[in-house]
Every structure is written in structure tokens, then in C-alpha cells.
């Protein structure tokens, strides 16, 4: 894989922005004029070169000294390209962490070596697990403030182990570091001889998180139908979309959903180029050997039959500042279906202190994570989120305000 998409999470003051600033600065991804601006700004504030200013983009953030929205950063090493979603740690902005994690392969979770695992760590780990991130790198930061002692690091690793199981994280790595000083971020530290592992950057360069959707059965949610209606392409009828799972080749049989009708793929196009195959992640146009009723949110599938149910069990993360009350209706949006839906049942709500799902009162507030039963007016074509992230994810939209109120993962 030549690109790694990752996200960062931490509490306020864990030094997350400094860590990212350090990663960019030490990997020589900062331009001279950006650095000049940060130096001038640091000077005005009477501080030394403050690397966190490299990523804290918005004016209010600079004033309050906290990150309040997702900021995307790009850097590359000779080995790999990185897309980083820097998300806020502050409690009311959990929705942004969910946003950042939804497109990421891996997450960095920052822990202050002095404080160890705290409530925010639990919340972030759960979100990472919930959103199906394949790998998590726990950055035990501020080692300089605990005199680079090993027990502080070991304690975090042990405490995190219980969390790892509860959150369902498949792959976890630990790195002791100091973002402020630069130990073990890009350059190895001489101050922690007891740590033999890789630096954070070299770990990120070698991480190979497995995406189950790439190896799963073919799924192709249709975005739109292409009909040129020109003399040259008089009868052309192509289906545009991005492969959400598996792979397809010319001559393969597929089934069109919701109709359940079989057809054969007789054309795959990328622009004017004709392809033999299309794989996970590719945006293409597919033509079929016969006339079938295909429209936006139709799904072409091969192999196992996709899930076709109007009643869906899902995990839901409530994102909106307005709470959910029983009986409210929403618009369900997923690649394989769009239409009215309601939350038939809020079965259980996650208690972040005990990490257990408990009975709720039927309402849902900002940042709450719950197990729900969703009832859709028409059955969408979906998959279990753990098998295919794209086919298994959905959002709920407030039909009046248009706000994205919740993100869901089908079980």
C-alpha cells in the first residue's frame, strides 16, 4: 500500500498538535514561509517555536489554544504518502473524530505519560474499534516529564490492554515519545535505551492494515446512469460508481439489486479507456449485456448475496447537538439505499465508564453510542460493517434542517 490514511486523537493538552507539527517538521514537510509564519506568531505570543501552530488553523483555535475541527495534513516520505486527519480531543467535538476515523486505516491515540489512560482515551479507543480501524498506535507522550522512565510507559501499555479487548482493536502498537523534544517521533531517542522498537514515523511507514473489503465479494453501488444519447453512443447505457468491495472482470455474472436479476458485465470504462477488470476503490462505468432496471443506489453484486432487510441492527453514534427523541423520522443515506427511516428501538447505550452497553431511556444525546434497531421505509442493500466499511456504513439526516445527525454501522 503506498498511501496510509490515519487519524489522531487525544485529550486537550495531550500535545497532539505538537506531535503532528513535529512529524511534519522533522520529516521536512514544512515549507519555509509556513515556518516563518509560525516563528513570527510564536514570538508575538512570547513562546519558543510552537510547532502546534502549524496545524491549528482556525482563528478561534489559536485564541483558545484547542483544536476544534478536523484538519487534513499531507506528507510523504520516500517510502509512502500519508493523509492525516487531525481531529479534536475536546469532548463536544467527538463527531469530528468519528468523521476523521471513518476514512482512516489507522489511528494514533495520544496518552499523557503522567496521566495514563483517561476517559477520553476510552472514548477514542471505542470509536476507533467501532469504525473498524485496522490498527492503532498508542503514543505515550510527554516522556520527558516523567524523566523517560520505563514504568510510566509499561503502566500505560498494561492499562490499555484491557481497553484493547473491550474496544475490539485488532492490532495495537505502543511508542514512548516526546513530541515537544522530538524523541522517537522521526528520530530515535537516546534517552530511552530500554525501548528497542521503531520510531513513530518508521512504524507508520511499515504499517500494513488489512482492508477486508478488498478481498471480499464484489459490490458496486451505482451513483448514476450514464446515457450519452449521441449518434456515436446511441444505445450506450453505463452505470457509474466506485467499487465498494472485491473485484469484477469482463464476462463475469453479476446480480442487480434490489431486483435480483442476473446479467453479464460486457464493458468496464475509466474515461475513454477500456478496462478488463475493476477492483476495490476504482471509480468506473460498467455496462451490462441486457436491459435491467438500474438507478442510483442500485447495487451490482457477485458471490454471496448482499443483505436486503428493512429492519437493521446497527451501532449508532449520535453526532448532532439536538438529541434524538423516540418517534422522530430521519432520512437514511447509504450507498445502497436512501429513504425514510426511524429508530424503532434504542436497545442499549454505551457507558463509557464501565465500557458496557446498558439499557437507555430511548433518547440519544450528542456523542452517545448506542445499539439500535433501525426501520427503513424501503429495504436498502447493505453489508455488515465489519465485512465492508462502505456498504455497511450509513448516516441519518434531519429531513428539515438537512443536518447529518448520526453515523451508523450495520451489524
Amino acid at each position: 500500500m503506498n498511501v496510509l490514511r490515519f487519524t489522531t486523537a487525544g485529550s486537550v493538552d495531550d500535545g497532539k498538535s505538537t506531535l503532528i507539527g513535529r512529524l511534519l517538521y522533522d520529516s521536512k514537510s514544512v515549507f519555509i514561509d509556513q515556518l516563518d509564519a509560525v516563528a513570527a506568531s510564536s514570538k508575538r505570543r512570547g513562546t519558543e517555536l510552537d510547532l502546534s501552530l502549524l496545524t491549528d488553523g482556525l482563528k478561534d483555535e489559536r485564541e483558545q489554544g484547542i483544536t476544534i475541527d478536523v484538519a487534513y495534513r499531507y506528507f510523504a516520505t520516500p517510502k509512502r504518502n500519508f493523509i492525516l486527519a487531525d481531529t479534536p480531543g475536546h469532548v463536544q467535538y467527538t463527531r469530528n473524530m468519528v468523521t476523521g476515523a471513518s476514512t482512516a486505516d489507522a489511528a494514533l491515540i495520544l496518552i499523557d505519560a503522567r496521566h495514563g489512560v483517561v476517559e477520553q482515551t476510552r472514548r477514542h479507543s471505542f470509536i476507533a474499534g467501532l469504525l473498524g480501524l485496522r490498527a492503532v498506535v498508542v503514543c505515550v507522550n510527554k516522556m520527558d516529564l516523567v524523566d523517560y522512565r520505563e514504568p510510566a510507559f509499561t503502566k500505560v501499555c498494561e492499562d490499555f490492554e484491557a481497553l484493547r479487548k473491550a474496544a475490539g482493536l485488532p492490532e495495537v502498537h505502543f511508542v514512548p515519545l516526546s513530541a515537544l523534544v522530538g524523541d522517537n517521533v522521526v528520530d530515535a531517542s537516546g534517552r530511552m535505551p530500554w525501548y528497542q522498537g521503531p520510531t513513530l514515523l518508521s512504524l507508520l511507514e511499515d504499517l500494513e492494515p488489512i482492508e477486508p473489503a478488498a478481498a471480499s465479494d464484489f459490490r458496486f453501488p451505482v451513483q448514476l446512469v450514464i446515457r450519452p444519447r449521441t449518434s456515436e453512443h446511441h444505445d450506450f447505457r453505463g452505470y457509474a460508481g466506485r467499487v465498494a468491495g472485491g473485484r469484477i472482470a469482463l464476462g463475469d455474472f453479476i446480480t442487480v439489486w434490489p431486483e435480483g436479476i442476473e446479467a453479464v458485465v460486457n464493458g468496464i470504462y475509466l474515461g475513454s479507456q477500456k478496462l478488463q477488470t475493476a477492483s476495490y476503490g476504482q471509480s468506473v462505468v460498467i455496462t451490462l449485456d441486457r436491459d435491467v432496471n438500474v438507478a442510483r443506489t442500485s447495487v451490482l453484486s457477485a458471490g454471496s448475496q448482499p443483505k436486503r432487510e428493512a429492519s437493521l441492527k446497527a451501532r449508532l453514534c449520535w453526532l448532532d447537538s439536538k438529541s434524538h427523541q423516540p418517534g422522530l423520522r430521519y432520512e437514511f443515506r447509504a450507498p445502497g439505499g436512501q429513504g425514510q427511516a426511524m429508530i424503532a428501538e434504542v436497545a442499549k447505550v454505551l457507558n463509557l465508564d464501565t465500557l458496557e452497553y446498558e439499557l437507555g431511556d430511548g433518547s440519544l444525546g450528542t456523542n452517545q453510542i448506542a445499539e439500535v434497531v433501525l426501520r427503513c421505509a424501503q429495504a436498502p442493500t447493505t453489508e455488515a460493517y465489519s465485512d465492508q466499511r462502505i456498504m455497511g456504513g450509513f448516516v441519518l439526516v434531519d429531513p428539515v434542517r438537512g443536518a447529518t445527525v448520526a453515523a451508523g454501522m450495520i451489524q
Binding site: N2, V3, F31, D33, Q34, A37, T55, D56, G57, L58, K59, D60, R62, I68, D69, V70, A71, Y72, R73, Y74, N81, I83, R95, N96, V98, S102, T103, Q223, L224, I226, R227, P228, T230, H233, F236, G238, A240, G241, R242, G271, S272, L275, S279, G281, Q282, S283, V285, R296, L319, E331, R333, A334, P335, R389, G393, V395, V397, G402, T404, A407
Partner: protein
């Protein structure tokens, strides 16, 4: 056939997906076309997204009246070539109508009042979606943009109240009078754009390539001499071999000294440049948060 898709292939697939979503979700989606390389790349991707059908978007150009002649020539030739409709919003018309006021003083330029013309054009043409070549790596405030960026009836961006964007589910729901800005190449860097231009053989305006040009030295960069700027005391026009890294209003777009007169040499130069490309744009230097302020007011 390449078995392992390259990073550029992945960025292209993502951008095509976003462009198709914009088409599917809006009634009057358009491309904001400046004649710069980023909007040219977006137009190229839009052609690719709908082939073999034609490009289904009009191109919108906000004309400050202070143009590089090459930009207008390129624009007119390009829309003809790709068979797209062209919509022009004129800043001069807004000034004549009195809806926009020219900035006074020696630092005055038409960059800020472009927003007025843009919003008037959106209104007049009932545009509900403008796709642009904005990239998150360009500037700190842009790093926080969504792919689908909601604008209220005043064209304002509310950075603290952005809709969360999960997976590839983009929410274009809006109230009457509101619109969206859509950024298909959000995740591209300047380097990616250049590599893609080479890979696809995309034609660019000649301003991107080094040539002898009449310039003056102002505010740390080489500003092209044109009918639209007045020389200040001590400024002497000279001929320098320069090229432009971004194209905007001719009165504020500074060039850099360069010998890079081919695509390969430009790419080699960009790879070694350690200044961000907006560094030569006078409008961004006014204050630490100038881009954010302009975006809140409806700037692209």
C-alpha cells in the same frame, strides 16, 4: 494493466466519485473555472467522470477585469474544446451597478470584492453547487474544508458548524437559497496535481512556464507589469525570466524567477521549492487569518 493502483489513481478515483455525487445531488452544479491549473484538473476529471457522455457542467468564471490576456484566451479555447457552457460573472458590472466597491489606497485590489460578483452570479444563474479546485494543503483554513461545504443564503461558511462527512457519504441537503462548494481534489497536494497533469497530458496556460516578462519588484515578489497597476516611486519595470505558480488577478499574482519552461522542469522545480505556492499571493499576507476571514464571507 497495473495491478497495484498508484496513489494518483486513488486520488483520481476519489475525485471522480465526488464529482459524480455533486451531479447526482444538485440541480444546477457548475465548475468554478479560474483558468488556473487546479480548476483545469477538476474540469479534466469531470470529463473523465461522465465519458462517453459529455461534461454536464457549465464553467463559471469570475472575471475581475484584471486578467492575464493568456488566461482569457485559454478559457475561451478550452470551453469550446470540451463543449461546456461558459458563465461569466463580471466584477466590473458589479462595480458599475454599485453592488461592489473598489478598494481604495495603494494596497487596494479586486480580490475581496470577487465574492460579491460570485454570489450575484450564483443568484442570477440559480446555481446550487460550485465545484472548485481548492485543496486542503494550500492554506490552514482550507485544511478544514469538507468535500461538500455548506454555504448559507449569504454565501457564508461556518467552520464551527460543518457537517460531519463519514466514509464517502456526502450530504448535500440544503434550504432554498443556500448552496454548496464542492472540492473534488481536496486530498491532492501541489505535487500530486503536477504529476497528474503530466500523466494525463493536460494542457496548461503558458503563464505556468518560464519566459521573459516585464515585471516590477513589489512586496517580495515579481509582479507583472500591466495596464492595471500604477508604478510607485522607485519602481522600475525590468525584463526577467519568470513563471507563475498560481494564476489569479494580474494585479496581485506575483511570479518567481525560474528557467523552468517545460512540464518536466517545472515539476523538478516544484519538488525542490520550499515555499508554499500561495506565498506569492499578496491577498493572503494581510493577516494571519486573512483566508479564513474571506472564506467566511463567501470567497472560494
Amino acid at each position: 494493466m497495473k495491478e497495484q493502483p498508484s496513489f494518483l489513481d486513488e486520488l483520481e478515483a476519489e475525485a471522480i466519485f465526488v464529482i459524480r455525487e455533486a451531479y447526482a445531488q444538485f440541480e444546477r452544479p457548475t465548475i468554478l473555472f479560474s483558468g488556473g491549473k487546479d480548476s483545469i484538473v477538476v474540469s479534466h476529471l469531470a470529463q473523465k467522470a461522465f465519458a462517453p457522455a459529455g461534461i454536464p457542467f457549465a464553467l463559471v468564471h469570475v472575471d475581475t477585469g484584471h486578467n492575464f490576456a493568456e488566461t482569457l484566451e485559454f478559457r475561451d479555447r478550452y470551453v469550446k474544446q470540451i463543449g461546456a457552457e461558459l458563465i461569466v460573472g463580471s466584477v466590473q458590472d458589479s462595480i458599475n451597478r454599485g453592488t461592489a466597491q473598489e478598494e481604495q489606497g495603494p494596497l487596494g485590489n479586486r480580490n475581496r470584492i470577487q465574492s460579491v460578483t460570485l454570489l450575484e452570479t450564483i443568484d442570477r444563474e440559480r446555481i446550487d453547487c460550485l465545484m472548485g479546485g481548492g485543496r486542503r494543503d494550500e492554506e490552514k483554513a482550507r485544511a478544514k474544508e469538507r468535500f461538500f461545504s455548506h454555504r448559507d443564503a449569504f454565501g457564508q461558511w461556518d467552520p464551527k458548524n460543518q457537517r460531519p462527512e463519514l466514509w464517502n457519504l456526502f450530504n448535500g441537503a440544503k434550504q432554498p437559497g443556500e448552496h454548496f462548494r464542492v472540492f473534488p481534489i481536496s486530498n491532492w497536494t501541489e505535487m500530486n496535481v503536477w504529476h497528474y497533469i503530466r500523466q494525463e497530458g493536460i494542457e496548461l496556460p503558458s503563464l505556468y512556464f518560464a519566459a521573459p516578462r516585464q515585471v516590477i519588484w513589489r512586496n517580495g515578489s515579481w509582479l507583472p507589469v500591466s495596464d492595471f497597476i500604477s508604478l510607485r516611486a522607485g519602481e522600475v519595470p525590468i525584463t526577467k525570466t519568470i513563471r507563475f505558480r498560481t494564476l489569479g488577478d494580474i494585479t496581485i499574482t506575483g511570479g518567481i524567477e525560474s528557467d523552468a519552461d517545460t512540464l518536466d522542469s517545472v515539476i523538478a522545480e516544484v519538488e525542490t521549492l520550499r515555499q508554499t505556492e500561495r506565498g506569492n499571493r499578496e491577498d493572503d499576507k494581510r493577516s494571519e487569518s486573512s483566508m479564513e476571514e474571506r472564506k467566511k464571507q463567501g470567497y472560494f
